[in-house]
């Protein structure tokens, strides 16, 4: 006979609460964000600070897309759509929220409340994006490869067109107070939504960079992360192991969309006006390139690739019109040299370990 304690330890033996393992990563996240926030102004000028902000936003975007395209091997081409949802909703909450609560937008005396509004908008935007991720994730259960790519591409374009149809922005506080819900969707059509204060400073952006990376990396290394990667390698075998395909595919879409929404909401608070083209395929491709270049499934790869791809156009700025040609050439060379991306499915710190021989070529079963 087993004792009750044995039964309980069998039910959840790994759930033992280890405070160090639980809290330390988050403390590190905050410290990193503080470090970036306070150190970079000493080293670089305002222009490069804005580059660092954009870099952070795209790291969040690339790492989150990697959850779908890298971890589970589904091919989503609509990530910009989720970013745009987060971006518009986040900006809307801050802008119209400020008008309602304070009567004006961007007043320095309202900065603390404004920042709180931004965080509320970020959560709202991310949750809405996650909801959209759920809807887009459902067809992924029936569609593979190219077909799923087309569906997700279509999703991004639908969001773009819907945003173009939105009514004019309302800037009069009294009008907003009179009909807040109707005004909220005044996203200003094709012109783009202007005037959101830049509350997303380096601290907030890099805090979310750190949080996103920790969550993505934990997902990858947890037992459910194994489940994600197994789906990517062999769906039938994964199901035969007892992996619930439906649950994991949809979960991947929802999580990726959530953090895509976070990235978009942060971006629209950096002084960049969200516009409908943000939801289009151009932006989605930019993020896909980061994920592929970094290595499908590699969190650190996505981080590094996003850094490189945000920095490269800046560093090549002096070359003017040759810039894009050189950018494309560099991409081609990188893919030729490292066809599986920078790190493949591994992480940067796995590279020195030689005990994992990689299969030659694509490495499939015969």
């Amino acid at each position: 006979m087993k004792t009750l304690a044995q039964h309980i330890s069998e039910i959840s033996p790994a759930r033992a609460f280890r405070p160090v393992a639980v809290f330390v990563p988050w403390v590190v996240c905050v410290l990193l964000a503080l470090a970036v926030h306070f150190v970079s102004p000493l080293l670089v000028n305002e222009y490069w600070e804005s580059v660092l902000q954009r870099m952070g936003v795209f790291i969040v975007a690339a790492v989150s897309l990697n959850i779908v395209n890298g971890f589970t091997g589904q091919f989503s081409m609509g990530h910009a759509g989720f970013m745009a949802i987060g971006g518009y909703i986040g900006a809307g909450v801050t802008y119209y929220g400020s008008l309602i609560l304070h009567g004006s937008v961007g007043d320095p005396n309202f900065a603390v409340q404004g920042t709180l509004l931004m965080l509320a908008g970020l959560v709202a935007g991310a949750c809405t994006a996650a909801g959209a991720g759920y809807l887009v994730g459902l067809p992924s259960l029936r569609l593979r490869g190219d077909y799923l790519a087309i569906v997700t591409l279509g999703f991004g374009e639908i969001i773009r067109v819907l945003l173009e149809l939105t009514p004019k922005q309302v800037s009069d506080a009294a009008a907003v107070k009179a009909s807040p819900i109707v005004s909220f969707f005044g996203f200003n059509g094709a012109t783009g939504f202007a005037g959101t204060p830049a509350y997303a400073n380096l601290f907030w952006i890099w805090l979310f960079v750190a949080i996103t990376c920790v969550i993505a990396y934990r997902m990858k290394t947890s037992s459910s992360g194994r489940a994600f990667l197994s789906i990517r390698e062999d769906e039938i075998a994964a199901r035969a192991m007892g992996v619930d395909l439906t649950k994991y595919k949809v979960r991947a879409f929802v999580l990726a969309a959530f953090f895509g929404g976070v990235a978009g909401a942060l971006y629209s608070h950096t002084g960049v006006n969200p516009s409908p083209t943000d939801a289009g395929f151009q932006r989605s491709f930019d993020i896909i390139i980061m994920v592929v270049l970094g290595g499908l499934g590699s969190v650190s790869g996505s981080v590094l690739a996003a850094m490189i791809l945000v920095l490269m156009p800046e560093l090549l700025r002096d070359l003017q019109q040759y810039r894009l040609v050189l950018y494309a050439l560099l991409l081609i060379v990188m893919m030729l040299v490292r066809p599986k991306g920078l790190f493949g499915v591994k992480e940067i710190w796995d590279l020195s370990r030689g005990d994992r021989k990689q299969p030659v070529g694509k490495g499939g079963t015969p």
Binding site: S12, A237, A240, M241
Partner: protein, 235 residues
Amino acid sequence: MLEVRDLSVSYGAIRALHGVSLRVERGEIVTLIGSNGAGKTTTLRAISGLVKAQAGTIAYEGQSIAKLAAHEIVKLGMSHAPEGRGIFPLMTVEENLELGAYIRHDHSEIAKDREMALTLFPRVRERLKQVAGTLSGGEQQMVAIARALMARPKLLLLDEPSLGLAPQIVQTIFKIIRDINQRGTTILLVEQNAHMALQIAHRAYVLETGAIAMEGDAKELAKSDEVRKAYLGVA
């Protein structure tokens, strides 16, 4: 333990199985033999929930499982080593084994089963850290079986474990299958290699174009003229 009745499965317009009935008793090795395209893989997939049956019943330990999803069936103690090995090629052998125990959380018991599997397959133990896609075909097959054992199945479904292996390795694999059975696991074995399969099985079914053509004691079937001509290559 397992009772399949009038099982029919179609892939779109293609009718792969029409009315297959079979039964597996606790402790047995039952083999299902038949030529290419007869529907052996389809039968196993329907049993483990990887494809949906159009008609028929599947009862496992007295419970109807025809409507259950694959991951729910695994939890009932049925484990399927799919055709063509179906290992995870980019993961290490060790990670493959861990995924075999994906549905379990009893860590100390998992460690025991892992030890047992590695005792059965010493070759797998030597390769734990190697990426599974770089193993030889025979080694991959061993990983696939070892991985299926990690679920601690009561019923193990094996789909052509001898596929593409050298005769010597086939001998080893079949010996291990018998060992696994003697340790208490019931086995439903799908095979092309009728000769070997009939040697280790207690009972056998012959599947022809989606229906059971013959069934009976494995040794008896091995002696019957039809089976000798069609599946054992004896004139």
